[in-house]
């Protein structure tokens, strides 16, 4: 078998902590997160950048981790679903997804929540069109999206009322 690549060592920050792993340079960041760093919250749904189940935040931007080669994670700041809750305290978006039915089978949920967070970072008070647009790269087969929108709206409302 023609084998010219050697595994490389990559250092980055994942969920606020320094992380380091070995991988082939073009290994998918998705696989690295799941297999090397044991962060299995990020999911594979399609392997072609179409479903968004693998969405993570990389250097502040929402990206499909199935489309990022490991080498390009060098020096990056990455946030996955595991980095949202603080101890046992869920993020408002996570809470809303539970109370408002945003999660059914849950496989799209990590990516969807990351996408929702990214949307709210860009549009803290999104209107209906902006919510739909912001989540349009994340496919959900269970909900028809209705309760996902409601969950986002609920999270925004919760952010408006001081705790």
């Amino acid at each position: 078998m023609p084998e010219s690549a050697r595994k490389i060592r990559v250092s980055c920050v994942v969920n606020g902590s320094a992380a380091s792993f070995e991988a082939y340079p073009m290994a998918r960041l998705l696989d690295v997160l799941r297999e090397e760093l044991k962060l299995t919250g990020t999911k594979e749904g399609c392997g072609e950048g179409e479903c968004g189940a693998c969405s993570i935040e990389m250097d502040g931007a929402l990206v499909n981790s199935c489309l990022v080669p490991a080498l390009q994670a060098e020096g990056a700041t990455i946030r996955t679903i595991e980095g949202l809750a603080i101890g046992d305290t869920l993020h408002a978006v996570q809470r809303a997804f539970i109370t408002h039915g945003g999660a059914q089978c849950g496989i799209c949920t990590p990516g969807m929540i990351l996408a929702a967070l990214n949307l709210l970072a860009r549009h803290p008070q999104p209107d209906d069109a902006q919510i739909r647009e912001g989540l349009s790269g994340n496919l959900c087969r269970c909900t028809g999206y209705m309760k996902i929108f409601e969950s986002v709206v609920a999270a925004v409302r919760q952010a408006e009322t001081p705790a």
Partner: protein, 746 residues
Amino acid sequence: METRVIGKSVPRKEGREKVTGRARYVDDLSFPGMLHGVTVRSPAARGRIRAIHFEGEIPWHEFTVVTAKDIPGKNCIALLIDDQPCLAAEFVNHPEEAIVLLAHDDKYLLEEARRAVRIAIEPLPAIFSIEDSLARKEIIWGQDNIFKSFYVEKGDVDRAWSGAEFVVEGTYETGAQEQLYIEPQGMIAQVNEAEGVTVWGSLQCPHYVHKALMMLFGLPRERIRVVQTETGGGFGGKEEYPSMIAAHAALLARKSGRPVKIIYDRAEDMVATTKRHPSRTRHATALTRDGKLLAMDIDFTVDGGAYETLSPVVLSRGTIHAAGPYACPNVRIRSRAVATNAPPHGAFRGFGAPQSVFALERHLDRVAEVVGIAPEELRRRNFIREGQTLAVGQVVKEKVDMNDLMERAFELSGYHAKRKRFTETNSDSDAHGGIKRGIGFASFLHGAGFTGSGEEYLASEVAMEGMADGTVHILAGSTEMGQGTNTIFAQIAAEALRLDCEQIRIVQPDTAYVPNSGPTVASRTAMIVGKLVETAAAGLLKTLQDSGLLRNGYGAADFSRACCLYVAKNGALKSFVKYEHPHDLHWDDQKYSGDAYGAYAWAVYVAEVSVDTRTAEVRVNDFVAVQEVGKVINPVLAAGQIEGGVAQGIGFALYENVVWQEGRMLNAQMTNYVMPTSVDLPTIRVYFEEIPYGRGPAGAKGIGELPLDGTAPAIANAIVHATGVDVRRIPITAETLLEMLEAVHA
């Protein structure tokens, strides 16, 4: 009757795990020494396997290789019959049929190896359409390519034609639809002397897999164990297929002596696993001068693919639903499931009914046009009422008023005003940027539970256990896959025991521990199994009360204490319930008539669309779903089911087109097999009416499949209203619609 937790939107039981990424799906699991497995599949649609060549620069000695020869028991995936091989031995009958299995610990090398296996197949003539199958262009299955046929007769159809003022005929077709659960199929298997065969995976029916593995391995019940992992969507796609992938993983595990994980990528999942049966329905309908149904002659055919699998049952449901919620004195339904050389088609939410209901509801709008009355008027004159009989002879015992449902749906959707307004504005669509608008509806019903004697045959069981710490465990083979099984079971038990849902645990479906509650399909989980949960809870409560350890007006702490004491004294506190078929439900399998289902959900759906005549793009602008479903156990979960089902129905009608090439799905990527995104769907507005059903838990009926029946025909009828084209087939692709628009324009 006032309820404590039933009827409340109790948060999803496993919600926290799902929103934190801690829920463990099969691909999240890893075992020490685990190998990866892949499947080498047939390149041909039909033929004789001549040779298997292991080529390339692959270190084959490192690989575990499994073929049909390695199967210890019977080479079949047991289901209704045993015609489907686990691994093709001499003949292949569809593209992508599994032939060789490989395992290795390097999953990248494994993929190279898969590519390096060359299967030499001497092709045989294959058939790919219902027409060719019925014409017996080739006999590819049995004596006549027919897996199953049904004949339903009510009254005397042939005599009715002479008295008819109107006779309307039509042929309608539906295409294949891919379930497209976002989590692809996967299994992990382990085989050892100590425990036998154990599989963990994404599945809906652990006991189906269990039964299949027993036959494949020739092992007794206690040597096979099936565990459901968190399942990322099923919709029927994980009803029967998981038995195949479990078998494959287990065979590799047996031969290698190591745990083996097989995870399909999206392309393999799409191209190799089941899809909704394509269908063709022919209607001939006779009516009186007043637009009352006199006779319905229905011919219904589904394409089952290469092996029987569940086609007889899909055909059954489609057949029984083919004549809809209408009173018609004379009905004949002739139906059949036929074989073609495609991967077997299988269960997908609705299970035959979306196919036959599409045909009926499209047809009735056309019938109304011929009779010269509005489509809703035709329905009004013919809706079935309590005391009348459905096509299969079942007397309706429910108090539902379909006219009321229809009027409510019309009011909520603004149907009448829009019907009128759109007709006016459509005449000058150029003034509206080429956009034509339409509004249409479908009226339908969906039976919950297994058909006829099915539930009796399933003889489902549920167990419940009161633990020393006061929690109550529910042991059932019913699975959670997003629809809310865990939560509603907890609610039902909590209600019966007067506890909070937090005190109820749902034991992970594991055939070593839970009884067979039947498959998680057929809109039966709430109504049938939920009732068993309710009964088991009542039984548990009675045991405690009879023991004197629990007094009236007890609180949660009292209950806990009582459990603790009872267990300490007696060793265990258990209750066990088995399904009992209601004495007043009778079904005749020979005549295919009688009480098909214990209860039905009834619905009217209204779709509003806009059609861009320049591009033939269709947009659903508004959707109203009104249904009577018995008691709603959890409003958020129930609405979620309808919303998600409508979304799948919109996909079925407009977006989801399987492109076939000689039995193989050509567009097996999410880029090219398209489901709606968040910007493609309208606000889906869901309304429930509740007439409690005496035999359901707290009065609940089943709703899981209902939305798939009425969504597509409502949209099709709306498109007809908008454009005047005569839709006969779904999916309605823009390409076809543009041609039809041009023809209408000309």
